[in-house]
Amino acid sequence: MLKKVELLNISKTYDRKQDVISSISVTIEPGEFFVLVGPSGCGKSTILRMIAGLEDITDGVIKIGEKEINDLPPSKRDLSMVFQNYALYPHLSVEENIIFGLHVKKISKSERKKRCSEAADMLGLGSYLQRKPRELSGGQRQRVALARAIVNQSPICLMDEPLSNLDAKLRAHMRSEIRQIQRHLGITMIYVTHDQVEAMTMGDRMMILHNGEIQQIGKPIDIYNRPANPFVATFIGSPPMNLVSCTNNWKTGEININNHLRFFIKPEDQPAVRNRQLTVGIRPEHILHSSNRLTNTIKMQVQVINVEVLGTETIFAFHLGGKEWLAKWNGQWRLSVNDIVPIEIDYNSICLFDKKTGGLIKAPAKIERHIIEQEVMI
């Protein structure tokens, strides 16, 4: 019953000159929650609409199961879709909205009633069935849109930024609700979002897009730990990874960031950086308070230029090597602007990218995560 979705060298162009999507190839496994994520205008919605059949495919092949579906109309692809603005029919009641598709498919009246009440129960819409969409709140409309996608019992569900019209609190709630529904029904979900938090928390796997090109595909945590390039490194994670270009003396293995920060590359990493210009990346949570607990760390003093205390964590900014860096410390820290704070960075937590190609040379080593995991266990 469940089928995989395969995209083979998919391209899309509107003017035959410039590709908005170029050569996307990916396989979405049956029953997977797959997230397409990227900044606005990166082509993620276009890919989703091509899978749905709402947009022509300029080049390449899309397969559902083993069947090529390039020229099938949307209704023959056996999928359902939730739109960003929900696309509810304003003149129909909630119930009529939910069973609109079943009505079209000429499913018997009793079956329609049954499926509608099932979906309504699952989403807690039971008492709203006779209302019109305009009499519902944003969150309730969202649920109606979900119910409409569910009643079709299609094995594949497409969602185009379904949560972006909700407030932050409701969005967090709906994230887990959508995830639970997907697990419960065991459907294949292809989910488009620009929000990296949604991508990180909901996806089994995700694909990061930028300017119509794949940046990286993988499990969220793997992408977080091993970002393929500086774009991914700054797009995934909040606050974003600090990136700064540096000079690299590959004879001595010394890295120099505008004379503010110098450290040596470990001998085992040296062959990889030979003859390359580097960009150094460090995640805000890897900039630690200098406590002398760790040895072999890069230590320095920095001047705080901005502080945000969020209750569970403290984010502060400082200048280093001509750039503004952000650091994130757990807990509440009474810092004020212009304070000088001692920080340290473990060499293992540093990320190195090739400055020219953007490729990842060295990801943060695993060793530090082990420390965190052990702390969690205690």
Partner: protein
């Protein structure tokens, strides 16, 4: 203490200034309304009340009220054969022009709403009758309807069908005038309906396509209900317009032949400015006003249930 002293005189402002201040918003609002109040008074309210006033009088050649006759003018109308005929012609004319005009406009708008290359050209063409004056287009239609040289009769000749006296045959005249009126009003209706169609969220159709709804199903379940406020508006406007048709009658038939196209507005015009019977003309105008008013109220009462406002 100082503050209190300073405050007291302010609180007991003299009443005049206070009233002036209180009404500030109302005065500003009135200022904004003033232009339309002026225009409406001169061109709508004054003529309307003058018409009602005159409908109770017999008038002299200058149109001045001469003799108060009470409801006699109205009584004469109710018994007048000519007025009955006029009412009948008007109702038939409305029946011919309004539904046909709106259905054709809807059809054209549905076609022009498709996303095709060069569709802008057709949108311009279809709405172009908005830019043509009634007089100019009526003259063109006069040529088309011409018994011997007109295009319609020539086409009929080609197929060996007998010529039709489009504007001279009492059985055909009202139909001919209706055809030209439908054509004339098409541009406006088309434009309004097209605007309504373009306001419908594209995602609704995409969602329906994923569900597999056919074109006709989408038209019936989505387009028409979503278009209902627009349709309601254009039906109301067309209905009122149709009741008030004058220009094309004056140029094409002058109310003839044998009063078959003597629509009520033309009949009012004839009574007032040809027969100088301002009293009966005013009475007819009042009757027309009441008819249109009642019809519009009725339409709102019936239509409201079928119209889906967002």
């Amino acid at each position: 203490m100082k503050l209190a002293l300073h405050d007291t005189p302010n609180l007991s402002l003299n009443p005049k200034t206070s009233l002036w201040k209180q009404t500030q918003k109302a005065r500003v609002a009135f200022l904004y309304l003033l232009p339309s109040i002026l225009l409406f008074s001169v061109f709508i309210f004054y003529p309307m009340f003058k018409t009602i006033y005159l409908s109770f009088f017999l008038t002299d050649q200058q149109g001045e009220a001469a003799l108060f006759v009470g409801l006699d003018n109205y009584q004469d109308l109710l018994t007048s054969q000519s007025f009955h005929k006029s009412i009948k012609a008007t109702l038939l004319f409305v029946l011919y022009t309004v539904p046909a005009g709106i259905i054709i406009a809807l059809f054209l708008a549905l076609m022009a709403n498709e996303k095709l290359r060069g569709i802008g050209f057709f949108r311009v063409i279809y709405s172009s009758t908005m830019g043509i004056s009634v007089a100019a287009s009526s003259v063109v239609w006069l040529f088309l309807f011409h018994p011997s040289t007109g295009m319609f009769n020539r086409v009929l000749n080609l197929f060996g069908i007998a010529e039709i006296q489009w504007l001279l045959d009492p059985d055909w005249a009202l139909f001919s005038v209706s055809v030209s009126t439908i054509w004339l009003n098409l541009g406006f209706s088309f434009l309004i309906i097209l605007g309504g169609l373009q306001n419908i969220d594209e995602h609704l159709y995409e969602s329906a396509r994923i569900d597999g709804a056919s074109y006709w199903y989408q038209l019936r379940r989505i387009t028409i209900p979503m278009l209902s406020p627009t349709l309601f508006f254009i039906i109301t406007i067309s209905l009122i317009n149709s009741f008030q048709t004058f220009g094309q009658i004056d140029i094409l038939t002058k109310g003839g032949p044998s009063e078959s196209t003597n629509l009520i507005v033309y009949s009012i015009y004839k009574d007032a400015f040809i027969n100088y019977q301002f009293g009966t003309a005013s009475a007819q105008a009042v009757v027309l006003f009441i008819c249109v008013l009642l019809l519009t109220i009725l339409q709102f009462k019936l239509g409201e249930k079928k119209v889906h406002y967002q």
